[in-house]
């Protein structure tokens, strides 16, 4: 009986460990910088961090340092063991945010990808997409009302309209605009998602502090964007060289975006 119970606990433990490690794999992009790229090709990789405003981080750390054992930040929240800040329910939780790393290669011929957006009563999920021109977005309308969507460039008058999607239905739309776009329901502006669309766009989405990589790229010049819809993006122009792994790290925050 005891052995059976012990065996059951071991199985349970292994199952949990498996779930935790798959989550870790899903969150972290596995890449070994010592492994050379394919012949004649190059790679770009790095760590992208998103953090609160530098003044906030400085104040939180000073407060915790002065507090001694059982350190707390300026809101009385204990500091985490990993040194990261904690965030209350009403705060923007920078530990949970997933950030896009985007590689732009306008000459690339990429296959169209499909993305799904669900419209619920309280908004659209996900609230941000990075797409290549020609990609397809499937909109599932679970809002409870009929909606007509359009894509609008936030920096010009360019617009793309789509047919009405009845409540409970879904429809696929092909993105033909390029720019910093918004996908919005004409009937209700609360239903809005940010769509960053470019020609030759490839993207990776990872949690703050994790690695990203774009492997086996042809040598040449590319633009790399680090993007979170509410903070905008940081742009870096990179040169990929054959046989080399190029490390480009980035920090996305209000104070690194607005200068």
């Amino acid at each position: 009986m005891t052995r059976n119970l012990l065996g059951f606990l071991v199985v349970l433990l292994l199952m949990n460990w498996g779930a935790a490690s798959s989550q870790a794999l899903a969150d972290s992009h596995i890449f070994d910088p010592d492994q050379p790229p394919a012949d004649g090709m190059g790679t770009v990789y790095g760590k992208l961090q998103i953090r609160p405003h530098k003044d906030y981080v400085k104040k939180a750390k000073e407060k915790a340092k002065n507090a001694g054992p059982g350190a707390v930040d300026q809101y009385g929240t204990p500091l985490r063991d990993d040194g990261k800040l904690s965030f209350s329910e009403k705060m923007v939780n920078y530990n949970l945010i997933k950030v896009f790393t985007i590689l732009l290669n306008p000459a690339a011929k990429l296959d169209a990808e499909e993305y799904e957006v669900v419209v619920e009563e309280d908004g659209m999920k996900p609230g941000a997409l990075a797409v290549n021109k020609g990609d397809v977005i499937e909109i599932e309308n679970d809002s409870g009302k009929d909606l007509t969507f359009f894509l609008a460039d936030t920096n010009s008058n360019d617009i793309q309209e789509f047919p009405l999607i009845k409540s409970g239905d879904s429809a696929k739309i092909k993105v033909e605009l390029v720019g910093d776009l918004e996908l919005t329901a004409d009937e209700d502006e609360r239903f809005t998602a940010s769509v960053l669309s470019r020609q030759g766009l490839q993207s990776r989405k990872a949690r703050s502090g994790n690695l990203y990589s774009f492997r086996n790229l042809a040598p040449g010049q590319y633009d790399l964007l680090f993007w979170y819809w509410r903070l905008g993006y940081l742009k870096k122009t990179i040169i990929i060289e054959a046989g080399k792994n190029l490390e480009i790290n980035g920090t996305l925050s209000v104070d690194t975006v607005v200068k």
Binding site: H53, D55, I159, Q160, E189, G232, V254
Partner: protein
């Protein structure tokens, strides 16, 4: 010294020269300021009920813009109040952290009209932001979720807040050339401004029409 006393001590020849010059209109002096009412109807194609519309006049060849007194936006209970403010270009907004608890806030904007980051505002502190350029400035607090507001910066003090499409009136508009325009947030629509000349008498029966944007694919 009164004007009459000054007139008396001037040499007779000089007095005559003054009268002659005045008759010729050499001394233009300050003109009597003329102000008129501008009114009309704001329409939206298809009868769409757009909200929070600001009808405003932009000077083309008219009086320069005039900033308003500082406007205070408070940060209390993790909410900006008021959430939407209208200011004239050149005005300042004072952001005041009015929280009862020890809570820090930040204000930043990535708007095309104006990008700014004012850092951290501690409880009880105030920080000022200038708004020199007309347009819509949407801003956020980088510390707290769902904490956001908008500033609608208009190019002159001559504007009317219209809750929904329909009649509008703008009073005391000085003489000159103006462009009548409207600010709103819905990206599916655009407006063509209307030229307005203020000379004598009110300008009424104007129609300002908001239409759906024409399809343009890049």
């Amino acid at each position: 010294m009164t004007t009459f006393r000054l007139w008396q001590i001037l040499a007779p020849g000089l007095r005559a020269a003054f009268v002659f010059a005045a008759l010729l209109g050499v001394f233009s002096g300050p003109r009597i300021a003329y102000a008129a009412t501008v009114s009309g109807d704001l329409k939206v194609a298809g009868g769409k009920k757009l909200k929070n519309l600001i009808v405003f006049l932009e000077p083309v060849n008219a009086m320069a813009t005039k900033a308003m007194a500082d406007i205070i936006v408070t940060q209390k209970d993790r909410v900006f109040k008021p959430g939407v403010v209208v200011v004239v270009a050149g005005s300042k907004i004072v952001f005041h952290n009015d929280e009862e608890r020890d809570i820090d806030h930040n204000v930043y904007s990535l708007s095309k009209t104006q990008k700014f980051d004012i850092g951290l505002i501690s409880k009880g502190k105030k920080l000022v932001v200038d708004f020199p350029k007309p347009g819509i400035v949407k801003y956020y607090c980088s510390v707290h979720k769902n904490m956001e507001g908008s500033v609608i910066v208009v190019p002159s003090p001559f504007y009317a807040i219209v809750k929904e499409p329909g009649p509008f009136t703008i009073n005391n508009v000085p003489a000159g050339e103006w462009k009548l325009n409207v600010s709103f947030s819905h990206r599916h629509y655009s407006v063509t401004p209307v030229n307005v000349t203020i000379a004598e008498g009110p300008v009424d029966n104007l129609t300002l029409e908001i239409a759906k944007k024409k399809l343009r694919k890049n």
